[in-house]
Symmetry: D2
Subunit: 344 residues, 4 copies
């Protein structure tokens, strides 16, 4: 059994990691940390997980970082980089769920976040969108686990841009997320009575996942891609849908898109191309590492409409992190991740 640690386990992605690692057949959880809950049992933070018998430690305490081999860091950005640096110095392998190592260019990070405390580690990190970069993940010291919006958006777009089926111009991503994406911190936006019976856009044209999306679309297209990205908050706990508008290349039809997707993702277990009448629904992927994608044509204007759903806490965060761990360890990438959707 490989020893795994979750640094910053008190948030939603931490709880989701605990759920997934606990029943993963190849690993055990030997360390969970939280500054706020250090010394307390997991039940103090998550009563439903109390029976696992875990206790929070403080990751700054002497010797704590020796307790595991693989580390999941689920801290806020900047806080994460510091602990990642310590872990790398100890020779540990890290899957970082923060934004701290998601960019290849530190200036892009610093433009959208803040001065980076460990720019020297940027070159060590691999962007862990497993379906695209799984080979590089295998040997990575640091895997930068992707953001939820980027995961949901890049999966359908990457192959189409790479093969030139759509124009790199005019891509519009209208994305919708459940409230858990805002984290467990209590504020007016996440108050039940404010989020319930409400839908609204937020951070329009300014969300920090935009440059993350654009970096990988640019790689696919072989040149700079700029997108319109509009996130929305939906009154549900989990789930993410991206509705994407793109201009196809001459003669490109629905079947060609579906065919390309199928080919491109043929070796991967978690992307499902929906080729019938049914449209993707976040309820189809809840609790799973799956991404379901579909395409429709709008003949009157010539647009393609791409639809992509994931569970923001799973494929959009924690289960993709486990998928990356599987890659790093040389295990089948769906090890411990084959549990079907929980519905309803």
């Amino acid at each position: 059994m490989i020893k795994t640690a979750i640094i910053g386990a008190s948030g939603y992605t931490g709880a989701e990691l605990i759920r997934l690692l606990y029943h993963h057949p190849m690993v055990e959880i030997t360390l969970i940390t939280s500054r706020q809950y250090a010394g307390e049992p997991l039940s103090a933070c998550y009563p439903g997980l109390g029976h696992l018998g875990l206790t929070f430690e403080d990751h700054n305490d002497e010797g704590v970082l020796d307790k595991a081999d693989i580390f999941f860091t689920a801290l806020p950005h900047k806080a994460s980089a510091g602990i990642v640096a310590k872990l790398v110095a100890r020779g540990k392998r890290v899957i970082d769920l923060s934004a701290d190592f998601r960019f290849s260019d530190v200036t892009v990070y610093e433009e959208h976040y803040e001065p980076h405390p460990h720019p020297e580690l940027f070159q060590e990190a691999v962007y862990g969108l497993t379906e695209l970069y799984g080979e590089e993940v295998k040997d990575a010291k640091i895997v930068a686990n992707p953001g939820c919006y980027p995961t949901c958006s890049i999966i359908p777009l990457y192959p189409l841009l790479k093969e030139g089926l759509i124009s790199p111009k005019g891509i519009i991503i209208d994305a919708k997320s459940g409230v858990s994406g805002a984290g467990r911190g209590a504020n007016q936006t996440t108050h039940f009575c404010e989020a319930n019976e409400s839908i609204k856009a937020y951070k329009v044209a300014t969300h920090r996942h935009t440059p993350e999306i654009e970096e990988h679309l640019s790689r696919a297209a072989g040149g700079p891609v700029k997108v319109v990205f509009t996130p929305h908050l939906v009154p549900m706990s989990r789930g993410m849908l991206a509705t994407i508008y793109a201009v196809p290349a001459e003669g490109v039809e629905r079947a060609m898109v579906e065919g390309l997707w199928r080919d491109f993702y043929s070796g991967t277990p978690f992307v499902e191309v929906m080729s019938g009448d049914t449209l993707p629904d976040t309820a189809f992927v809840k609790g799973t590492n799956r991404c379901m994608i579909a395409v429709r044509e709008n003949p009157a204007t010539g647009h393609l409409i791409l639809l992509s759903v994931i569970d923001n806490l799973a494929k959009g965060a924690s289960s993709q992190a486990v998928q990356n761990m599987n890659k790093m360890m040389g295990w089948p990438q769906d090890k411990g991740l084959k549990v079907p959707v929980i519905f309803p």
Copy 2:
């Protein structure tokens, strides 16, 4: 007190009309009809409205249509046209909430719906998007009350197209609706456990509100406008948000859009232009006849992002119908409609 009737009062728009007309100071409800509930008290259908003491009648019964002066028809399309014809023949004025008289061209209707039983009445009908066509509504025999998606989409787009601030090409409307938009009929889509914790697109590129939207945008632009329109189902009872992507004319900026909106809607009480940081939220308009709109720029691609919220059952249906009645009667258009939002 003017006598008003609701034909087909057992659905959600019917219940909303009852709510609004009951406390309207100039009218009384003298007739509610339903084939299914004929002879039964309103409480059999809506227990919360039982105290109003109303009883359903059958609108096909002899003499029933003489019981009021102004009629709201809230029947399914096609069923509506037949009763509207009877009412017009009796000299009654009708506000029709169905789709039966929403198009100026019967062939467009028949392409998207079915053969129309009373094409001769098309010329009698005025499209009741009150802010745009209020003057024509005044004298109309038949007011075709707009669909919810068209109301939410046309209000922000019309002035911009009319004044050339945006291109008539490349308009994308990504709209999100609460479940009440699907009506009160029970089916798998509206089952709580299917709609809850879920977001999905439906009728992508095929929704029948598309030609309704396009007709009025084309009027505004002075030439044919085609849009991409994607409706989504959101796990909430009421509310509608349209996130609209448009390409501005050279040099057009946020302030110019807001300024034009303000001018264009200056004489109307229900459109609010949000010029600060806050973005529209369906929770801001619940239960009201209001439409709140905002705009943002996406400098990297040059797009404008327009955001528009209404209550789909109110401004998207029943309260706009009352607003139209007010116009028809020569009353202030906000008569009986000034109740602020119910929140939370």
Copy 3:
């Protein structure tokens, strides 16, 4: 037009008061206060109410308390008593939505809350459960607006205890409330993801509404009544249901209970006895001042089961406050409160 003020208008009961007073035909809102938002427009706190053009003031500023005749105080307990004292000293009439004047015995208050800063005012206050104490409310200087749980529980129980139809022993109140009852303050309990898809009891056997309920049941019974009271948090914004178990006196049947209720509340417009098959549902009273009650028998054990629903923010707080204002002013008690339920 009578001038009304809302002291502490930034919470949910404040917003609900604004909604109700704004369209009340006999009053105008001349003052809203909030320490946090003083100087800011109402839209800073409630964007959906921005069009009303109101601005928050600080109730501690010189002269502010002269701006109205009738005051609604919607502050936390203890904070409320201080401002109420100032208002009474100025000869103003006050409807206090806090718990500060709800008890006849200050020691009961102090046992469950904290030392009371103005015990001398206790005798000035009338408990504003309007259906029971409307006559006393008429002349009151201070009306202590009841808690939501007490309102929902006392209405069905009071007449039965008063007339001896049920035993004063063994009364169990199992109550369920929407999340707005917890207020607008953000904390983990009110986080969307914690309250959604969850039901739980809280403050079991220790909730401070218990002695408030018991005082009035004891008055009804003519002797001390102790109850079991268990509140629960339900994933909805508004609404409250009390399911009450009681032991009937010998020979008491459903029809007798319904008959007594009908008689007892015959002169009041807001209590509806449901005598058919339909059971009370919080959705029947949303946004209204209504209370719907029903009773069922459990022959095997001899218990009666009483069911009572209100909107916790309306009859459980703000609309009952308006009902009390109507009483104080000698207006019909349903003035401004006749708007039917908003559904769905």
Copy 4:
């Protein structure tokens, strides 16, 4: 790998069985049936489960019942008994999720349901509340899987009645269920807009789970026990809470109840006694086979308040069925069921 079949797999308990059996390490699913979907892929009914590659068959077709060794029947009552009889005749072992074999006395069944087509099989069936009757389940041909309300209610009550810690008289069970308990059939009650923002009691004093509860409480008490049982519908998909009021025997205190529970369930992995301040919440057990219980005292009246939560589709139906299968096969009872709660 043991071959398992799900007869009537198109409902929510069927989908939950598929989820659980699919990742159970000792079994494979070799048959799923549905009359409605016979011949169609599972995706036609559950698009999120399409990737499992299962196809519905018709359980009435020749030879179909030979395709597995262990059968889960998830049909409506009465329909179930017929197929169970066929299976038993073939020597198959059956876990029946319907009500058809839940009573020891066929007259009780027939009083609350309808004439039973196979009363001769009553003696073959064991009531599968695994914690109580696990030993008998081991050798059973037919396991009658308990109802959700009985499971949630009997677990906390049984030991207390058996050991005389509470009176068999005056037990009141106020239970709250998510909407999935009503099944996947679409009707007005399960319509999103009717169930959302609503709480209501239903089938007060008449629910058919009452005699099922009473049978096992009577066994525990050694004499007839009658309860008050009031189910409620809560706006959430999954989850069940029972708030139970009981009169303790002289001198019985909280710690004694907790101690007895701990002893009684010490050999079982799924019952957790909560002895701290935290109260049970349905969100703590979502997707799991766990039951969390707690007790509080109400000193003023002497009552005990017991709180019990389960996932109605899991421990209340499908995962308890798997737990029973484990018992029948001689496997550890938590085989395949150790996945922690999914939260949020």
